[in-house]
């Protein structure tokens, strides 16, 4: 899908430029934007190095485990299908904690481990179970405490206050997560056969 969109944007751009007579601007845009992308990435080095350094301390200190304990009651309610003390629960907790701290690289393997366990719980079928979809819903609307990359981009473009979007982002992401869970519940109950449990 991304491949088509990417090629589409460029090819349509070239055609429209031919019709509009803006080919000179397109030529200029190719080279300035390529340069801008590299400048932007270099500008992001500073904050990414700093933030991932700090997060490594959190990870080594076992903050993920502490967060996991705090989340346990919530996870029990969100995933009523998972038996008590099943390994899936632990992986889901680590996945949520890593997402919260913005550790995408740590969150994904934990999420996949959780999915493996959920598949076993579901009898190894190639069909998505209720808990799998809930886990997915939480991950697609993931709550992150500090949107590091965005702050870095805002800094690169000389924002007067690069971090002032932290609170709005937290509120918006909280709304989307709650929304995701409610929608997930709605579709789950709708998918149940009528009359039966």
């Amino acid at each position: 899908m991304v491949n088509y969109i990417w090629v589409g944007m460029m090819v349509i751009g070239f055609i429209v430029a031919g019709i509009n007579g803006t080919m000179d601007k397109v030529n200029e845009a190719i080279f300035t934007s390529a340069k801008e992308a590299v400048t932007l990435s270099f500008g992001m080095i500073s904050i990414l190095v700093f933030w991932l350094g700090i997060m490594k301390i959190a990870e080594k200190g076992g903050l993920l485990e502490v967060l996991a304990i705090l989340f346990r009651p919530i996870v029990k309610r969100l995933f009523p299908d998972i038996p008590k003390d099943h390994p899936a629960q632990g992986y889901i907790l680590s996945n949520m904690a890593a997402n919260l701290l913005g550790l995408g690289n740590a969150a994904t393997p934990m999420g996949i481990k959780a999915m493996e366990q959920l598949k076993i719980l579901n009898g190894g079928k190639n069909e998505a179970s209720r808990s799998m979809i809930t886990l997915l819903a939480i991950n697609t609307s993931s709550i992150t405490l500090i949107p590091t990359t965005i702050i870095a981009i805002r800094m690169s473009y000389n924002s007067a206050s690069p971090t002032d979007i932290v609170a709005p982002t937290l509120i918006a992401t909280a709304i989307s997560t709650v929304g995701a869970i409610l929608i997930d519940r709605y579709y789950y109950y709708r998918s149940l056969p009528k009359g039966g449990k």
């Binding site: 990417w6 903050l63 206050s161 709005p168």
Partner: protein, 177 residues
């Protein structure tokens, strides 16, 4: 509004301070660990270069040719009915498909409109508040061989829509009311 802004300003130093003290309490070699993690940050920033170059070039070709203006012109009447700024609609769509694609669009919007403008703040919030549904779906279900995904895609996309609309509402209310 001042409460929100001071929360945003206090939150990061507070979190960093907490992590540093917590690490010290847990006897983590803080400085060495920091350096070790920092190296990962460096490689992330370098690895992202080809993605950003590819996306930013495509987006700016599309914009410089005038094609984006036509798309905006076509969409504006429809979206202004719902008070949705047409400028961020392409970002909202891209956000569900490609994380780096959306990142390219966000930085393009911030560069064009300014980071502290309405569109700049809105793009920042949209980028931060949802994750790439198609990517998460492909990776998580693909890794364990789930073929029938049932209502998973609907849930993911509706959650993205909620995040998108919530971003518009939150930014409008907090900064511009």
């Amino acid at each position: 509004m001042s409460i929100v802004q001071s929360f945003s300003i206090w939150f990061i130093p507070f979190l960093i301070g907490f992590i540093l003290l917590y690490g010290t309490y847990k006897k983590v070699p803080t400085y060495e660990t920091f350096v070790e993690g920092g190296k990962e940050g460096f490689s992330i920033a370098i690895n992202i270069i080809p993605f950003l170059v590819g996306m930013l070039v495509a987006i700016s070709v599309f914009r410089a040719s005038g094609a984006l203006d036509y798309v905006m012109m076509a969409m504006r009447p429809l979206f202004s009915l719902f008070h949705i700024p047409a400028e961020v609609v392409p970002l909202g769509l891209m956000r569900t498909i490609s994380g780096t694609g959306a990142l390219g669009m966000t930085s393009d919007l911030i560069a064009t409109h300014g980071p502290d403008s309405f569109i700049g703040r809105l793009a920042s919030t949209i980028q931060g508040s949802t994750d790439t549904t198609f990517y998460v779906l492909t990776v998580y279900f693909g890794a364990v061989g789930i073929k029938k995904m049932k209502y998973a895609l609907k849930v993911g996309l509706l959650a993205d829509l909620i995040g998108f609309l919530a971003s518009i509402a939150v930014i409008s209310l907090l900064f511009y009311s």
